[in-house]
């Protein structure tokens, strides 16, 4: 005997009454706390996610996927057709040399120093088979973050919170950190899309107030705030009595003021790094100018996850090396190397890595060739939606190299999967089934992968 949920019954009936009642149920469900903890759909390997987003698109052949063929053909004409550059194109050999690190076949260019330590390198999975679709930044960013190139759909973090809720109700369930500059496409990258607003990513700002207007003006202290909230609660209760109805929407607003008051003290304590030891601060590279910003964000990510935040995302830009590849990528790698290694080490030492999935990825990869810029051989790379590289660690991921690109790194050729399969896999690790994690919107059940995808089993231990 079939026991369909209310939603399924109504969907199936599709009658006038069904639809009317259906929309009322959706609204009724939305009145409940959207971030309350929920059970995963199947046993989860990961509970939390830290996603390190390298905006601009790191070159696979300059980071983790060596291509000696490019070095051989350096500056020779390229007839490859990928990417957007047209006219005369020439191959660009990586300015970096490579070596194998750790026990699982991971390869890294010489710019990675700290990440090469086997203690962390042995945790890494390097996936080389993923393919993007878009060739331009905002669309590709939207695609990697929301599953749709158009922007406006819910982001990964929003889906994760929709599926699982969050542990600490005094903190947002989905926290985003960026550099001072917002990535292209801005907050659309961490949008709740058509999911209820509570699932939107909350941006912890790198300077000034971590959350806009988190604190009152400086002349109003905690006691002042408390007194004000007490008066406000009284006024709202008077109003509630006068309308003769315990209106849920109004009650939710009243509760929000109390939650805001609690967050005002909770958030500063989570982001206050004073309690961290000097060696931890150093492990994340916070004492050196080039790693200070990203190091601080990585350390914050660990503290947030520790405090029950479900999904943390850090955007780090500057990877779009169309020119001056050596300088550009070298500096970017140095800025993330120590913090990333520090984060993995710290998570591992604290036993958090087992259920925290760490992902390091860009929105696409780079081409093996380039065209002339300003009339000269510019040593850089274009955008490539056929091949890219990414790292995954912890949270049930199997260490090692998965997939491969061709001899130039132009196209993924083994274990090739579109972004949607990566998304399905990430949800799977969180104990969520993309085909069931759906939200009825615009006439159909929508899902992160848009139309379904496959789990990439090779990535899972």
């Amino acid at each position: 005997m079939l026991h369909p949920s209310r939603r399924q019954v109504l969907y199936g009936l599709g009658s006038t009454l069904g639809t009317v009642a259906f929309s009322s149920m959706v609204q009724a469900e939305e009145n409940a706390n959207p971030l309350a903890q929920k059970q995963p759909m199947h046993p989860a390997k990961a509970k939390n996610v830290i996603m390190l987003f390298m905006e601009g698109g790191p070159g696979q052949m300059d980071t983790f996927d060596p291509k000696p063929e490019l070095t051989k053909r350096h500056k020779q004409e390229s007839k490859l057709t990928g990417g957007l550059e047209t006219g005369f194109k020439f191959f660009v050999g990586s300015p970096f040399s490579f070596r194998k690190v750790g026990d699982n076949g991971i390869e890294m260019c010489d710019q990675w120093q700290h990440l090469a330590d086997p203690f962390v390198a042995n945790e890494l999975c390097n996936y080389r088979g993923c393919q993007a679709e878009s060739l331009n930044h905002p669309e590709a960013l939207f695609h990697m973050n929301t599953g749709s190139r158009l922007g406006g759909d819910p982001s990964l973090g929003a889906w994760a919170n929709y599926g699982l809720g969050t542990v600490n109700q005094n903190l947002p369930g989905y926290v985003v950190m960026t550099e001072l500059a917002m990535p292209q496409g801005g907050s659309t990258n961490w949008s709740n899309g058509f999911l209820p607003p509570g699932y939107q990513g909350t941006r912890l700002r790198p300077q000034g107030s971590p959350i806009l207007d988190l604190s009152p003006p400086s002349h109003k202290d905690h006691l002042h705030q408390r007194a004000a909230l007490d008066e406000l609660a009284w006024l709202n209760q008077q109003h509630m009595q006068s309308i003769g109805e315990q209106d849920k929407k109004l009650m939710a607003r009243m509760e929000n003021y109390e939650l805001a008051f609690r967050m005002q003290s909770e958030i500063p304590s989570v982001i206050d790094l004073a309690s961290e030891s000097e060696s931890t601060i150093d492990m994340y590279g916070m004492n050196a100018p080039e790693t200070q910003v990203f190091g601080r964000q990585c350390l914050m990510a660990r503290r947030l996850v520790e405090n029950g935040v479900r999904f943390v995302q850090i955007f780090s830009g500057g990877w779009d090396s169309h020119d001056y590849l050596e300088r550009g990528h070298s500096a970017r790698i140095k800025s993330v190397d120590k913090p990333l290694a520090g984060l993995l080490r710290d998570l591992k030492q604290r036993g958090l890595l087992d259920d925290t999935l760490v992902i390091w990825t860009g929105e696409f990869g780079r081409t093996p060739d380039n065209n002339k810029r300003g009339g000269v051989y510019s040593l850089g790379r274009g955008h490539n939606n056929q091949a890219m590289t990414m790292l995954l660690a912890g949270g049930g991921v199997r260490p090692g190299v998965v997939g491969a690109t061709d001899e130039f790194g132009a196209t993924a050729v083994e274990k090739v999967h579109p972004i949607r399969d990566l998304h399905v896999t990430l949800l799977h690790l969180l104990g969520l089934n993309d085909n069931k994690l759906t939200y009825f919107h615009g006439g159909r059940f929508k899902q992160l992968s848009q139309f379904g995808g496959e789990v990439i089993h090779e990535l899972i231990s």
């Binding site: 109504l10 500059a181 659309t188 309308i243 607003r253 550009g328 970017r332 009339g375």
Partner: protein, 990 residues
């Protein structure tokens, strides 16, 4: 109503009965047709004539089971043998009986409960099909169970074909209706059936006499139809709202602003004397207020997605798009007939050209010259401005191939036209025939083709007398300042570079060449790129070059330019063509203008050719050609006008239902059909379909007048009901979302209403219609925060220099796709990339932060406190400077009512406590920077570099009064005012 769900789906036995019944009915129809052909005599069918069991089984399989298999299973379990999942094929009875890799048969004949397939489609154990979206409905599952139970009959292909053909000759049966369309990509789609209730929007409007056989007067019809439904649900209507509630509701609904305290009291008095007269006078006053168009224009801009920038990579400014915004506001204020409003937005440029050509008797060539020169009169200019509608979607061609960029634009036009005017979602039809609605992909490409010659352009269009051109001079001076700075800074760096270049040439004993001249020289014959520049200078150069371009372009804000379109067979875009889009016929090559179906929406999969055209399922022809009734001429000009004329054809039921439903939605919080952008089978069905039709007819009878519709709605008792209801508990349980309107729905203010109401309360709101966008003060951290655009960081946001400019209504605020005002965004101002049919109002915690802690809210509280103190000092006698009296004023200004004695007492005590607090807690002064240092990670270097940007607006800035500039008494009173702004009472309309 409570029991409808459970009774509707009590058990699967009910469904089985339904299936059997339907099969009998089907057989009856077939029999009837045969009989008719034979003899035309019998009308009764007796038991003997019922078809045999085997025939029932064959029909069940052919018409019910096989279509499910085809739709849901064959993709993975049929077709290509190599590609079959789980070694299971569903293409023949034998293979189904054999089963898949498990070795067990998929079905056990006669025993659905033991059949693997049945448990799989029920998602018990194995889950098939695996996606939620593809999952079988309970009815489909029961159908297959029934088929297994009766022996899994599987007639021959020939027999199946015969049954299908017989079936296709019956327009309507219990499986639904056939709908004639231009035809799908498969016969199965073309011949599929729709439930009548899913087709409601496509069916012609019922006439007024059908809807109102008893001849009930027009002004009672809304109440009549609402009450009729309520009676059926056994609810009673709520009593009428109080006079204070009514004026607040009406004023917000029509103008987006609260009434003043004085207006409330005056209305209460008049209402007590003659409630009907007072009410109708109030509605007339509000409808004739210019504030009306500002508010209803805002609704329309939600649907059409207004923004002053283009979004995506560069977020280019669409300078002068405000002219479209003002056109919309003017149109609402003047109650422009909606059919004209539609035609102008879709084809205003074509109307203008027809008019110009006739007026001046021009040849096509001469007309094209006049187009470029912009030789249009006022009416024609207005029409062209209206086509700003066709320029509202996010669009940029940076790093996108030209044909793809073009497709993105046209797809956007098809989609927004469908949603806005027809309440149809057409985006899904780009790739396939519509899954639920009778819209074949052919119709999508017909409309796509109707836009096929539409090219984007900023056009030369004279300003109108009615357009506000205030502050052009001051703002232009500001832009020139920014431009001069960018140029000077760029030149400094270029100087360094060229000095080094000269040295290089000297060292190499070559004659110096400028950067342009040496561009194509071989590498060894010219200095390296960026010679003499360190990485900081290299990064800065790029920023300055970008800034120079941006500010130079913004000078065009003061030119008579309009964001519009023109017709041409094709156009060629440069890689950065989105920067500047002009009428340019020279660069066009004559490519084909015929449209094609793109299979799966892929530009590379060109399918059959299509003419421009319209939605065939509406059954309203767009052409006189009986052979191709739903097409449009494929001449280069006139396609959009033909499309628009079809949209506003009086027989097109989608258009009028769409607009009256929207108007109803903004009055009642929910549409009669709850998804104003989607009248398709998966959109919400109308709760009061007769009312919707009645209003649509009436709307046309009243000359497509939206103001008449407001009057009709607002004069009804339904609209005047209270939010309170005597039987609230049972009402909430049975109709939690108030779909049957037994009371009025309480609603939260939308973001613009909230900001405007606060400014109105403080006395700071400045009314001025239209013109250049204003820059309100937004959170300074956000205003100055760097924002990536292609190659650079966008210039910082600088607010307007004076409060008079900043404090105008929110509809006039500059809207940047890549930088929303965080306050408005928090209160659910929609993302302008998608059409917004209905604002969210969910309460999220950061709203509390913004309303209590933000600088703008604290400034507003100080502003109203200062206003009250000033007025209080002017009073004489005991009232003078009396705190309780001040509290009273605060209530009047903010909540538009008197405080209760208890409220006055308690808040006075609170303020008194706060005075000593503020005496010992000094506020910090606010400093507005006149320049900022910004930092960007450069792709050339991978390292952050810094550069300075000027903020000249703060050199001569009239800031709001801040907390550090006022007395402790003022701050204490401001504390009270801030609380009142935070109350539910302030934020909600009863």
């Amino acid at each position: 109503m409570k029991n409808q769900l459970s009774s509707k789906f009590k058990s699967h036995f009910a469904i089985q009965r339904l299936i059997l019944k339907s099969l009998l009915f089907m057989a009856f129809l077939v029999t009837e047709i045969c009989d008719t052909e034979a003899q035309q005599a019998k009308s009764e069918v007796d038991q003997d004539q019922l078809p045999k069991a085997s025939e029932i089984g064959d029909r069940l399989f052919t018409l019910k089971v096989m279509p499910i298999f085809k739709e849901k299973c064959v993709g993975c379990h049929g077709g290509n043998q190599q590609d079959i999942k789980g070694e299971f094929s569903i293409l023949s009875r034998q293979s189904v009986l054999r089963g898949g890799e498990s070795g067990d048969p998929a079905i056990v004949i006669g025993h659905p409960d033991d059949s693997y397939m049945i448990s799989a489609i029920k998602w018990e154990g194995s889950e098939m099909p695996p996606k939620e979206n593809d999952r079988l409905t309970p009815l489909q599952i029961s159908t297959i169970e029934q088929w297994v139970r009766i022996g899994a009959p599987w007639p021959s292909d020939a027999r199946q074909k015969q049954i299908q053909e017989e079936n296709a000759s019956i327009i309507e049966n219990e499986d639904g209706r056939l709908v004639a369309t231009s035809g799908g990509q498969s016969d199965q789609w073309t011949n599929r059936r729709y439930q009548r209730e899913d087709l409601w929007a496509f069916l012609p409007l019922r006439t007024q006499s059908e809807l109102n056989p008893k001849g009930i007067p027009r002004n009672q019809m809304i109440d009549h139809l609402i009450t009729e439904e309520l009676n059926q649900q056994e609810f009673s209507s709520a009593p009428e709202a109080t006079a204070a509630e009514l004026i607040r509701r009406a004023t917000y609904d029509l103008t987006g602003l609260p009434p003043t305290y004085e207006e409330v009291s005056q209305f209460q008095t008049q209402h007590a004397k003659n409630s009907k007269k007072a009410w109708s006078e109030l509605i007339e006053r509000l409808l004739s207020s210019p504030r009306y168009g500002e508010h209803w224009g805002r609704h329309w801009l939600d649907v059409t997605r207004y923004s002053d920038t283009a979004g995506m990579s560069n977020d280019y400014e669409r300078s002068n798009l405000w002219r479209y915004r003002d056109y919309v506001i003017r149109s609402f204020n003047s109650d422009k007939p909606y059919n004209e409003f539609v035609r102008e937005q879709l084809a205003g440029d074509e109307l203008a050209d027809l008019s110009l050509q006739a007026r001046e008797d021009l040849t096509r060539e001469e007309l094209e010259v006049s187009q470029v020169k912009g030789q249009y009169n006022q009416q024609e200019s207005e029409w062209i401005v209206a086509t700003g509608f066709l320029r509202l979607g996010p669009w940029d061609n940076a790093m996108i191939a030209n044909d793809e960029a073009r497709q993105i634009y046209l797809d956007d036009l098809v989609n927004i036209t469908g949603q806005t005017f027809l309440s149809q979602t057409l985006r899904c039809v780009k790739c396939h025939d519509h899954k639920f609605d009778p819209i074949p992909t052919r119709d999508y490409y017909r409309i796509y083709s109707a836009f096929g010659t539409t090219q984007m352009a900023e056009r030369n269009v004279p300003f109108l007398e009615s357009e506000n051109r205030q502050r052009f001079h001051e703002e232009q001076t500001h832009v020139e300042k920014m431009l001069a700075y960018a140029r000077t800074e760029k030149d400094k760096i270029i100087n360094v570079q060229e000095t080094a270049a000269k040295e290089w040439y000297q060292e190499h004993q070559l004659p110096y060449k400028t950067e342009d001249d040496r561009r194509n020289d071989p590498d060894e014959m010219k200095p390296p790129r960026h010679v003499g520049l360190n990485y900081v200078q290299q990064g800065q150069l790029k920023v300055r070059e970008q800034d120079e371009w941006i500010w130079n372009r913004r000078l065009e804000r003061y030119q008579p330019m309009a964001q519009s379109v023109y017709n041409a067979d094709s156009t060629i875009l440069a890689w950065n063509g989105a920067r500047m889009l002009r009428i340019n016929r020279k660069r066009q090559k004559g490519t084909t203008t015929t449209g094609n179906i793109l299979i799966g929406g892929a530009l590379t999969a060109v399918g059959e050719a299509v003419m421009p055209g319209v939605l065939s399922a509406v059954a309203v022809p767009s052409s006189n050609d009986p052979a191709a009734p739903y097409t449009i001429s494929d001449s280069i000009n006139g396609r959009r006008l033909a499309l628009a004329n079809w949209i506003v054809d009086e027989n097109n039921p989608l258009t009028t239902r769409s607009i009256v439903n929207r108007v109803w939605k903004y009055h009642f919080g929910s549409g009669i059909a709850a998804n104003p952008n989607n009248f398709g089978g998966k959109g919400a069905k109308p709760t009061h379909p007769q009312l919707l039709d009645y209003l649509a007819n009436d709307f046309m009878e009243q000359g497509w007048s939206i103001k008449s519709l407001h009057r009709l709605i607002m004069m009804s008792s339904t609209y005047k009901q209270s939010t309170r209801h005597p039987d609230l508990d049972s009402l909430q349980e049975s109709d939690p979302n108030n779909l049957y309107l037994a009371r009025f729905s309480r609603r939260r203010l939308i973001a613009e209403e909230l900001r405007d109401s606060i400014l109105q309360s403080t006395g700071e709101l400045v009314h001025e219609i239209g013109g250049l966008p204003i820059m309100p003060e937004i959170n300074m951290e956000v205003a100055l925060q760097p924002r990536m655009i292609q190659f650079s960081i966008a210039p910082a946001y600088q607010p307007s220099p004076t409060p008079e400019q900043r404090n105008r209504r929110s509809v006039y605020a500059y809207q940047v796709r890549g930088q929303a005002d965080p306050f408005s965004e928090l209160f659910n101002q929609p993302n302008p990339n998608e059409s917004c049919e209905s604002r969210e109002t969910a309460a999220v915690t950061p709203q509390a932060f913004a309303l209590l802690n933000s600088e703008t809210m604290n400034d507003r509280a100080i502003a109203i406190a200062e206003r009250i103190l000033l007025e209080s000092q002017k009073e004489s006698g005991p009232e003078k400077s009396d705190l309780q009296n001040q509290i009273r004023r605060a209530f009047r200004y903010i909540l538009k009512r008197e405080p209760s004695p208890r409220e006055r007492q308690r808040l006075s005590e609170y303020a008194l406590k706060m005075i000593p607090y503020h005496q010992t807690h000094a506020a910090q002064p606010t400093v507005y920077p006149t320049k900022i240092t910004r930092s960007l990670v450069e792709e050339f270097t991978g390292r952050p570099f810094e550069y300075e940007e000027i903020l000249p607006v703060f050199e001569d800035y009239r800031a709001d009064t801040k907390a550090d500039q006022v007395s402790a008494e003022s701050k204490a009173l401001a504390d009270v005012c801030l609380l009142l702004f935070n109350t539910n009472e302030f934020l909600y309309v009863e």
